[in-house]
């Protein structure tokens, strides 16, 4: 069984060596793991470092954002006939050892999302997260503890679907809506995640409130669009 591990990375030269090292040394996974780092127009040595540590590297000539970056990895996996693709953050917050848990849930799901026990810390974020769960539940029927989690496993059907259509605006929750609208089975498993080593989250403060507003519309739209599109 071949698994392509898609690692979106924007200026992650410091986090990648340890992450790729861990991936190489995965013990309890009976699969051939191929890491591919998606260098999304980094300004540091992300691509070079990734290559030196044995990863394949897709270099985006301009910054596409997480959606376009992840989709390029999915396209690669789909074309080269990988059985599964995993998505894990390049900042090292997703322990590769937890991949086994996602794989364990892949039997009866096309898309597996890893969520963590501990929710967001600030009140604003917690409200936003709750609202997002409700929106997804009501509009799409997906039950998901953390729709924004980027720790994922894509089965063959998800690879085929997302090769042709993948959202670019708020990819994580939208992808769930699309998957659900197209009749894919979505599942989630509890995983442990690490605290961020440094830097800042891409979403913070009042931007988070506006984010939630936009995501609400985007998720509903993604679902309706995917439902309206003729299936093949």
């Amino acid at each position: 069984m071949r698994v392509l591990v898609i690692i979106p990375a924007y200026n992650e030269e410091h986090a990648l060596p340890a992450l790729l090292g861990e991936l190489r040394a995965l013990p309890n996974l009976d699969a051939q793991v191929t890491p591919v780092v998606i260098d999304d127009g980094s300004t540091d040595a992300t691509a070079k470092v990734a290559e030196e540590h044995g990863a394949r590297v897709l270099r985006m000539c301009k910054n596409l954002g997480i959606g376009g970056a992840v989709q390029s990895g999915i396209r690669l996996a789909f074309r080269e006939g990988f059985d599964f693709a995993a998505q894990i953050d390049g900042d090292g917050q997703h322990p590769p050892g937890e991949l086994a848990k996602l794989m364990g849930a892949a039997g009866d799901a096309d898309l597996v999302v890893g969520y963590r026990d501990k929710g967001p810390t600030t009140l604003l974020r917690r409200i936003g997260s709750w609202w997002l769960r409700v929106v997804l539940r009501v509009t799409t029927g997906v039950k998901c503890n953390d729709p924004t989690s980027g720790f994922r496993l894509y089965g063959p059907r998800a690879l085929a679907l997302f090769d042709s259509e993948y959202p670019y605006d708020y990819p994580e929750p939208e992808a769930l809506a699309i998957a659900r609208a197209r009749g894919l089975r979505v599942n989630e498993v509890l995983v442990t995640m690490r605290e961020r080593q440094g830097g800042q989250s891409s979403i913070a403060g009042f931007a988070a409130a506006y984010y939630v507003f936009k995501v609400t519309i985007a998720v509903a739209l993604a679902y309706v669009r995917a439902r309206l599109k003729p299936r093949d």
Binding site: I38, R56, V57, L58, R59, M60, C61, K62, L64, G68, Q71, S72, R75, L76, R79, Y168
Partner: protein, 129 residues
Amino acid sequence: MQQVVENYWMFGAVCLVIALVLLRLLFRERITLQGSMSYLAFLVFLGLMAAFPNVTQKISMKLGFTLMSNFFFCAAIAALAVLHLRALVTLSKVHTRSIVLTQELAILQEKLERLERQQAQPLRAAQGN
């Protein structure tokens, strides 16, 4: 109530100025003719409305406007909305296309580099002998 027939040459003049700016952009190749055709058409149409206020007045009254200027505003806003939405459609298409092209380029580049490395390896081995 008596309708006042005003001259709307100012409105026509504004249309003319915009048309001139548009032409300038065209000549300098800042915009393509195909993309700006609809813009020119709308300007000509609005300009004609201003040039022949009597006809416009009749139409505007038929449509239930008591003030002709309101009809002008309405027509101009509608025209601009259509133009802007069309521009948005074009922009979105171009954006999506550029994402796909960037992805394809990256995938091909990686493949090419891998093939080149594979070819170079046996060569190096032969040179080493």
